[in-house]
Structure formats: C-alpha cells, structure tokens
Subunit: 348 residues, 2 copies
Amino acid sequence: MAKESEIISSLRRKTRPVDDVIVGIGDDAAVIKHRGATDLLACCDVSVEGVHFQMDWTTPKLLGRKSLAVTLSDVAAMGGVPRFALVSLALPQTSQERLAEEIMQGIFELADDSGVTVIGGDTSGSRDSLFIDTSVIGECAKGQAITRGQAKADDLIFVTGSLGASALGLLLLEQGYRWAEAVDGNSSPPHLQEAAKDALAAMRQQAMKKHLIPEPRLLFGKAIGELGLATAMIDVSDGLSTDLAHILEESNCGATLRAELLPIANCVRKLSRVMPEINLLNLALHSGEEYELLFTAPGDNQRAIVEVAAAINLPVIAIGRITRGRQSHLERGGKVELMLPSGYEHTI
Amino acid sequence: MAKESEIISSLRRKTRPVDDVIVGIGDDAAVIKHRGATDLLACCDVSVEGVHFQMDWTTPKLLGRKSLAVTLSDVAAMGGVPRFALVSLALPQTSQERLAEEIMQGIFELADDSGVTVIGGDTSGSRDSLFIDTSVIGECAKGQAITRGQAKADDLIFVTGSLGASALGLLLLEQGYRWAEAVDGNSSPPHLQEAAKDALAAMRQQAMKKHLIPEPRLLFGKAIGELGLATAMIDVSDGLSTDLAHILEESNCGATLRAELLPIANCVRKLSRVMPEINLLNLALHSGEEYELLFTAPGDNQRAIVEVAAAINLPVIAIGRITRGRQSHLERGGKVELMLPSGYEHTI
C-alpha cells in the first residue's frame, strides 16, 4: 500500500492553485480566505465497503466520485454552492498500490467539474473494509440557506429528475449484473456483450449507472437557493417517503402525494415488464440514493421553478401538496391512503 | 445498534445554541455565520479500530474524546482556534446499543471544553471495524496561519510538554497493562489494585493516560498564533524526528537538535529503570501521538514564548536550531551525528 506521505505528494501535484485557498493539502490544516459575504455550509458523508458498496460493483474511481457526489448533494439541498472538500480514506491492508490514487482521481474529477477544491484529508490503513468519508464546505447568500423546516400548508411539493432507478440498479447489482464500464473487456459476461443489441440490457445499464454515478443537482440547487424559490428542500438519499417525512417533521405539517404524478424512471418502467418483482409505486416512493432534490414552494413560484429547470434541461414536477395535519397521504386512483416512510438507513 | 435518526435526535438535544451556528445537527448541512474577519482552517483525522486503537484499551467515551483531540491539535498547530466539528462514525453491526452515544459523549465533552460546536455528522454500519472521522473548522487572524514552510536558518526549535510517554503507553497497552479508569472495578487485574501503593504502576498509568487522553495544546497554539511568535509549527503526531522533517522539507532547511535538551517525560525516565527495552533517546525522538507542538522561532522571540507558556503552566523548551543545510543532526555528548526521521505512519 502506498505510504500516506506519497499519497499526499501525489495529491498536491494534482491540485491547481485556487485564489481563496491560502494553504491546501499538506499542512496540519488547510487555510481558506473567506470574505464573510456568505454563510458557510458544512456536511459530511461516510461510505463503507460492505454497507454502501461492494468493490466488485464499481471501479475505485467511480467509488471516489460517488463518495464526494453524495456530500455535494447535501450542499445542493441547502440551496448552496460547494467550495471545498476534505477526504478521509481508510484502506485495507490488502489493497493494491493504486487504490487510493484511483479513488482520489474520481474525487478530483468530480471536484474539478463542480468547482470544488480538495483542501485536505487523512489516510489510514484498515484491517478489512474500505472507508471513505468526505466533508464539504460550501456557501450560500446570508440567511438564504434552505432548511427542512419552513414548508407551509398549501405549498406544492416538487421533485427533480426521476425516481426508482437507483434502488433497481442496486437490486440488479445484487443479482449479479454489472455496469459495463466497471468490467474489463476480456471478462465481460455475455449479457454485457449483448448490451448494444438488447434494449433491456441497456435499461439495466441505466439503472446501475444511476446507482453508481449519481449526479448531484448542483446547478438546480444553487439556482433555487439564489432565487429563493423553495421553502424547504432535502435530497432524496433515504427514499422519497422518508425524506419527505424529514421535511414534514421539521416543518410540523403533513402532505398528500398523487401517485400518478410520481416521475418513475424510464428504465424502471421498461424493466418492470420483465421483472415481476418490481412494484413501480414502491420503488418511486422508497428508492434511496437517488440524489434528486425534493422541495416545497408556494404555487406562485411554480412557473419560475419550471423555467429554472428547463434552462438546465432537468425535469421537475409537482407531485403533491403540503397539508395542515401531521400525516402523509397518497392519492391513488381516486382513493386516499395513509403513507408511512419506508426508506432505508445504512445499518447492516 | 441505534438507528441514525435516534442518534441524531439525541445529539440535537445535547447541542447548545451557539450564536453563529444558524443551522446545526439535523439538516442536510450545517449553516454557519462567518464575519469574514478571519481566515478559515479546515482539517480531518480518521481513527480506525485495529490500526489506531483496540477497543479493550480504552472506553468509547475516551475514544471519542481522542478522535476529536487529534484534529483539534492540527488547528492548534496552525496557531488557530477550533470552532466547529463534523463527526462521521461507522459502527460494527455487533456494537452495543450505547456505543455511538458514548463515543459522542466523549466528543461533546471535549468540544464543550474547547469552545467547539459539533455541527453535523454521519453514521453508518460497518461490517467489522469501528471507524471515526472528525473534521474541524477553525479560524485564525487573516494571513496569520502558521504553516510548516517558513522556518529560517538560525531559528530556535521549541517543543511543548514532554515526549516519549505516548509510545511507551502504547507499548504497555500492547503488553496487557490497562489504564485504570478503562477497566471496570470488578475485573481489575492485580496490578491495578496495587496502583496506589506502587510508584511504578502510577508511572505506567501516566504513560497510558498520555496515549489515551492526549491534550491538544489549544491555548498555547492560539497564543503563539495571535502573537505571531513562530515561523513554522506542527503537532507531534508521527514522532519528533518525522514531524521536524516535515517542517524542514517545507521550509527547505536543516536542523541540529541537542539530545540532552529533549524533554523526556518523567514516567518514561522512571520506567526505563525497570524496562531494559526502553531507549530514552529513541522514545523522545520517535514517539508519535504526543500532540505536543513543535515550532521554530527567531531567538528574539524566546522570552515572549517562555512567558506565554508560563502563563498557562505549560513547559516549553528550545531543543535545537534550524540550519542552512538540508540535513538533520543530533548533538549528543559533544558528538554530532546524522538524524533520520523514524516516526511511524498508520498503515498496518
């Protein structure tokens, strides 16, 4: 395994100088210039081998990318802009020399694409599992952070993108399917060789891609934050029903969702024709790790929200309404039923 | 194991409101007011079971405390003041219900004592090892952060406190000794029951305490930073010889240390009489996880440095001098020998 000092030297060479980073990787702490014109945002997310991922599902680079993506998504969900990242890695003793470097490559690529500077980190050995913890510092206009706590009765409930693909991708990975680009060409199983010809195989690839390479909704979150369009916002990490419940609890209100409006991912719909185990509604309501943004806003803001989304080519749809009570309901085929949060938490 | 939501609720109840924390634990990200009058410092440290610690060496509370202490020490080594912390925990499936709570209790206690607010975190399961990553955001006067890179030829080299006890404490733990307060009364081995009567047992306790409950030199680091007394500073985490080498490399200079000036911990001296395996000089030069501050300063600042240290009752001593070359030397009994860094890195 590479020594920490070698990893640090390698990282320092990759870091481009950024104006407001006075001291980056390689000292006891990073030093950041901050003009004080914004509020700071800070959050972290830990990914653990055997809990959040299996090594043979993905590549080290994509693993690094996702470990940062999920934390950037938290900043997007505050309506902010991510600026700096710290990365802690604990690498199994048996790791190949290049594991840390490849993980960091994935982190650096997404950081670069997102305007984020990796300013520091720590590496360690580990007896067995790989651990990656990413902490992100971001910013937003003073007093403009969008929490989970300000949803109001009669607000509309919106969600970006589509739902269900991430949980389905996870199911496919568990069933032994692999994302094509994570498998080296010579050992591609037959279902991959057929991918181009087979529409279902392509749909499976889409679902696994959504799980392995989630795209945090940074541009949209930033725009919604800057324009002050949302009353409450969260990213869909535990599943729509659970993440909505977080908003309702913090905002002390209820909600009614309309089942037929839930934006079910195309690949999920298509695969459901051949996978009887798929329940479309359950997947849409409870699929975690989607990293779409779920937010509430007065109806008056709907037009502006739709325009922002159209400008960056991101689907957004109103799926329900905030209510005065404390319960959540689902309206489905003219009937209204009680809805309980059923997302998952990462305990094994 | 407790669910993440329960852990978060419990933590939120414990967090006191702090003026500049607009949103603390429990949202997607914490929101911090920052006036922009200071530079920000950011760093993280990861602690992994089986690499940095064994569960039967310590208590969960002390483990939590140390995991934050080591990161606070990094801020002290920049001459700054720690302000906010993020904590990521990955807890083995087999953990007792209260493990996370006890770890967080240790973290909260040290945070409170240090004026630090825990603003967020993440928890996860883990297949096997316990993993704790703490990220700290601190601040220092604009442009006043003390890096490793500004040591100058003829600067004096200073170190706080004493050296050697942490590595000896680790050795004792590995030999089966236990820190008294980490062992429950009924199962105390005989050497603990005799602790009060036995001066050597008390020395062993001191060494283990230094290893298990390091005290980051926050007041001293802050004062040195505010008064601009040091040219370069680092905390002794890898061992004096290695950490000094980091300063020399970044500052592009050499050093000569005087062996007889190295402040060897009292417990180390006393135990060396009965432990033939102890080499005092090696321990002083290479003992890691001491979390003392090692820094360089012009001779003109020596009086002010000594006064600052005296005011907070912390020993500080000049142990050598920065030189123009790139090599490190040790002066010992009138002879000068080459000194190579021989601290350790946390790979297993």
